[in-house]
């Protein structure tokens, strides 16, 4: 028997479907454009659909206001979650070294010498790719041979991650795992 509550439950799922389809259509139509553009547009489209369906359902229901707010919060959290998961499903192709290495070994057929992987993806090359990506995105700015922060969005996310790491790992493990400037480069 049909239960109208199903529409509320499925609102974020519909939103995710719109996100995915929009993102795929845009990225396949414009492969030379940054993939983050397709993810941004897709996410907005999916979010709007999820929002409209959720608010529309709640508006027409006879639930109390606190109940409506609680269910709205629940659906909002679900859409943020599925949107984040989908974002990472695409971003893993862009940013994951491990996925890149898996694909390279697979395409090689009969394995790859470990030395070739270590040389091909050595820390210097990884560093240069990362720096280029951060500079191109405006997250870092180079001035007189020194790097300073540019756009703050990614930085705020990174700082939030540091807080999360501190809470989850605890003070000692967090401190032990913090990256340090090599002693040869530290100021006297």
């Amino acid at each position: 028997m049909y239960d109208p509550y199903a529409v509320l439950v499925l609102a974020p799922v519909f939103g995710l479907m719109v996100y995915a389809v929009s993102q795929i259509v845009i990225i396949r139509a414009a492969p030379d454009r940054s993939p983050y553009f397709s993810m941004f547009v897709g996410n907005i489209a999916g979010f709007l659909l999820s929002l409209v369906v959720t608010i529309g359902w709640l508006w027409g229901s006879e639930l109390s206001t606190p109940n409506k707010v609680a269910l709205f919060a629940m659906n909002f959290a679900i859409y943020l979650g599925v949107g984040f998961c989908y974002f990472n499903l695409v971003n893993i192709i862009i940013a994951s070294l491990r996925v890149r290495m898996l694909e390279e070994i697979w395409l090689a057929g009969d394995g790859l010498p470990a030395r070739q992987l270590l040389d091909g993806y050595n820390s210097e090359k990884v560093f240069e790719v990362r720096i280029a990506r951060l500079l191109n995105g405006g997250h870092l700015v180079e001035s007189d041979g020194r790097f300073v922060n540019g756009k703050k969005r990614f930085l705020w996310l990174a700082l939030f991650w540091e807080v999360l790491r501190r809470v989850i790992l605890g003070r000692k493990r967090f401190a032990a795992g913090r990256p340090k400037v090599p002693s040869s480069l530290r100021a006297p």
């Binding site: 509550y5 993939p35 898996l102 990884v126 870092l140 809470v167």
Partner: protein
Amino acid sequence: MWVTAVAFGIFFAGFFVHLLVWRISLPTRQTAALVVIFFLSLVGGMTTLFACVAAGYATPFRVWEYLHVILFHLTLMFTYLIVYTSIEERSPSMTLLVFVHEAGKTGRTREEMAGVLTGIAPVEIRLRGMVRDHLTVESDGVCRLTSKGRAWACVFSTWRRFLKMKKGG
């Protein structure tokens, strides 16, 4: 309201157990441990809910209300698993941004940043992680994929080509 409270309660119970276990002893396979903890939290929470309903302490949920709780839990679980991968192994890009931020207006030199990144993201760590997770095996200096590794590589490669994206990393 009750649906939302149950959903948040089950997830945060699992999160609390996760923090407790991590304080006692860090598991070797952290992602697998998280999956077990959150799965058990869902099973335990739903079982408790059924018991409360059967005993008359709670009004019965409709099927779609149970599904709403499960959808919420699974979504947050997968979201947290993704977040946790960058807690377990530091994201090189985020590490660089925070490192530069800590220097304030003076900024950092290229050498300082390269030095910091070498410490946390050498390829050796990635390779060891892939062996530990049974994605690859290494013998006679050659890295080969396991059947699990081949499956994942096929999925990601197909997905990348479907999206018409270049290789990343």
